[in-house]
Structure formats: structure tokens, C-alpha cells
Subunit: 205 residues, 2 copies
DNA sequence: TAGATTGTTAATCGATTAACAATC
DNA sequence: TAGATTGTTAATCGATTAACAATC
């Protein structure tokens, strides 16, 4: 497959996709690398180069048909389908995520929530019930879930991640404020607001 | 100042800092670029190179004193002090962040929450009261706040950002699922879980 | 046709890594 | 001293950009 496309290019595709969706909502039908670039603060050449890794999506003299490019990017990113995810951790953050409509709107469905706190297990969250974390492995295996969102305390994160990987999870969106180690073939993306804040304070003052 | 240090180097410093804090909690006193690198999946040479932009923090033959390096990184990133922040948006996500102890633990204090929904204004959230968004500008100006967390719906984000910038905000942590434009001298960092998920699904299957 | 914009090549720029003298 | 690891230089690697033929 396209295993030779740099990670950094892949990381920009979702940004392009989001911007294209924005333009579409504004009623536009056609855009250009120039327009996309100026919205994103990226050079037009880079956008064309990035897209050229996957094919030819534009028309000389015209630009890109927004709907068509969206559909192609969705295919490339494998989001031309729905993905089921589980959420581990029924704290305040887990609660916010379970109720955030944005995941579902983008085809990412949280289909189960797990926690090990007896006072949380059994709680009903809109269309979900908080389940006992003991049932996690069986659920993942039975339903063939490959994506997990980790919203547990830092000290629990590695142990939970180990269990998830063993059960068959291949992608972890980690909200726990700690680094987790996973074997080859499993991807972790870390949501780290503190790191972003510290990056910004470097430039303040 | 160190305006010649690449952004990408600055972005790694918070990761180093987090890892060093982890090692310190484990009771370690000394580490090496080798050890840090293997934890983070980064080459030891890169870690030494990154640090060398700011000075000499290690000892040949020994490595780095963890406490000392932490204190130096905190100075470099300007987190050897506390920062007051405001939070805009009192929805589920805002609620979760206002109650997340991690910000305060790292010296980032949410000192006020704003919303424009009358049913939310006046709500008491632990030690905070949800305020009317109309008071936002005055609060920022009076208290000299420079950092804002944006947790409002996508359609409101740009307008709120414009108001924040006008009032004096210099750094925005944007949780709204949209791109916001700010003038030179203002920094935006975007928390974008959907982008992370789409990045990961590229590699799935 | 004239104007615009793509896709791509080659040049440039910048970041990462290898290697090693210095030295603890 | 012998072993280890830093800080730094130079080489390598890879990503970005400029430029332009192709063509809509």
C-alpha cells in the first residue's frame, strides 16, 4: 500500500478534509490549492504535493471539485465508513466525550463505556450504559472493535492499554496525561492539552 | 530572544518535561539522553541537540540530573510561574475541563468561566461561577488574562476568538472543531480528536 | 484564445543522525 | 584509569518550495 507516504502528510489530510467540509457548508463547489493554503497558512505547492501522493484530483485552470475531493480524502483516510469505538473511563472527561455529538457526526460511534468504579457501573448516559471494565476484553473480541478512547487516570493508563491491546485494539486515542507503550502494529495518539499550553507559554511575554 | 529555535523543538520540550516528571515520581535522580529517547521513541542525538539550543544541562559520563533539568525546562517554557486562564463555553466539555485538576496541578488556573446561555449563567462549578459572556472583555482587560480556552460550538468560535483577541488574549487553546483565524502575535493551538482518529484509521486495515 | 491552476521536477531549505573529541 | 555520556560538528536525510510544462 501507500506505506511510503510520510506520516506528516497523512496528518495534514484530516485538516484538508475539515477545511473542505467548511467550504462546502459555505455553499462553495470549487476550490484551489491557493484558497486552501491561505485558509490554513500552508503553501499551495505543499497541498498539491501532498495530494499528488494519492492521485490526481484537480483540473488545470479550474482547481478542485470540493465534493469530489472530500469523497476521495474520505476513502484515503478510511473514513468512507463508520467506526465503532469503546470509551474507557466514566469520569468527567469520559462523560463529556460520550455526550459529544461530533464523533458520531464524523462516523465514529462510541458503542460502549467501561469503568471499574461500582458507583458508576450501571449509570445510563443517553443511549449508553456504563459497563463493568471486567467485560471490556470480551466486548472488544466479540464485536471486533479496533479503536479505544482512553480517559482513565494516568496511573491506570498503561495497565488498561495493555489489556486493550491484548484484546485486539489497534488504535488508542489517549487522553490520560502519561506516555503509554504499545507493541508494533498498534497506534497511539495522545491528546495533551498541557503540552499545547506549555508550547504557547514559551512564546508569551 | 531564542527566536531562532525551531517550533518543532519547542513542541518537544513539554514532552521531555512530562517524561522527566514521570521518572522523578519513580524515584530516579539521574537520566540520560539514551533513557529518555528509548521511553519516547526519539533518538538520543535529537534530545541532546534539542537541549543544546538552550544551554548545557548534563554532565559527560553521567547524564542529566532530573530535578535540575526539570527546573531549567520549566524556566525555558515559562512555566516556572502560574498562568491564569479563562474558559469560554459551559457545555459538557467546558464542565469537564473546569473540573479537571490537571490544569491547576501544572500551574494553569481557570479563573473564570463564561457562557451566553441564561440557563447556565450563575451555575456554581466547584469554586467557579458561570458568568455572562458579556463580561468577558472587561474581565480579560482588568485581570490581564492572556490565555483562553475555547469550548464553544464551531459556528460561534471565530466571533468569540475575535472578541478575545481584541480584549488582549494572546494564546487560545481551541477545542471548537473549526479553524480560527487570528492576527500576528496571537497563538492558537487546536485540540482536534477527530483529526487524530482519522490519522489512525488511515493505518487501520 | 487568454487566463488560470494543476501535477511534477529540481532546487532549496531545514531537521535528524552519526560520529567523536571532551570530560566527568 | 576505564567506561560512559555529553555537546557539537559535519554528513545525511527528508520535507518544502519554486518554477514551469501541460492543459482545462
Amino acid at each position: 500500500m501507500n506505506k511510503d507516504v510520510p506520516d506528516i502528510v497523512i496528518a495534514r489530510l484530516p485538516i484538508y478534509l475539515r477545511t473542505l467540509n467548511l467550504l462546502l457548508e459555505d455553499g462553495k463547489e470549487i476550490t484551489s490549492s491557493q484558497e486552501l493554503g491561505s485558509i490554513l497558512g500552508i503553501s499551495p505547492a505543499q497541498i498539491r504535493k501532498d495530494l499528488s501522493h494519492f492521485g490526481e484530483f484537480g483540473k488545470q485552470g479550474t482547481g478542485y471539485n470540493i465534493k469530489y475531493l472530500i469523497s476521495q480524502l474520505r476513502k484515503i483516510l478510511h473514513v468512507d465508513r463508520e467506526w465503532d469505538m469503546i470509551l474507557i473511563g466514566a469520569g468527567a472527561l469520559g462523560h463529556a466525550m460520550a455526550h459529544y455529538p461530533g464523533f458520531r457526526e464524523q462516523g465514529f460511534n462510541i458503542v460502549a463505556v467501561f469503568d471499574n468504579d461500582p458507583s458508576k457501573i450501571g449509570q445510563e448516559w443517553s443511549n449508553l450504559v456504563v459497563r463493568d471494565a471486567k467485560e471490556m476484553e470480551q466486548f472488544v473480541a466479540e464485536k471486533g472493535i479496533r479503536i479505544a478512547i482512553l480517559a482513565v487516570p494516568a496511573r491506570a493508563a498503561q495497565a488498561v492499554a495493555d489489556r486493550l491491546v491484548k484484546a485486539g485494539i489497534k488504535a488508542i486515542l489517549n487522553y490520560a496525561p502519561t506516555i503509554i507503550q504499545v507493541p508494533e502494529g498498534v497506534i497511539v495518539e495522545h491528546i495533551d492539552p498541557i503540552a499545547h499550553l506549555q508550547y504557547m507559554t514559551y512564546y508569551l511575554e
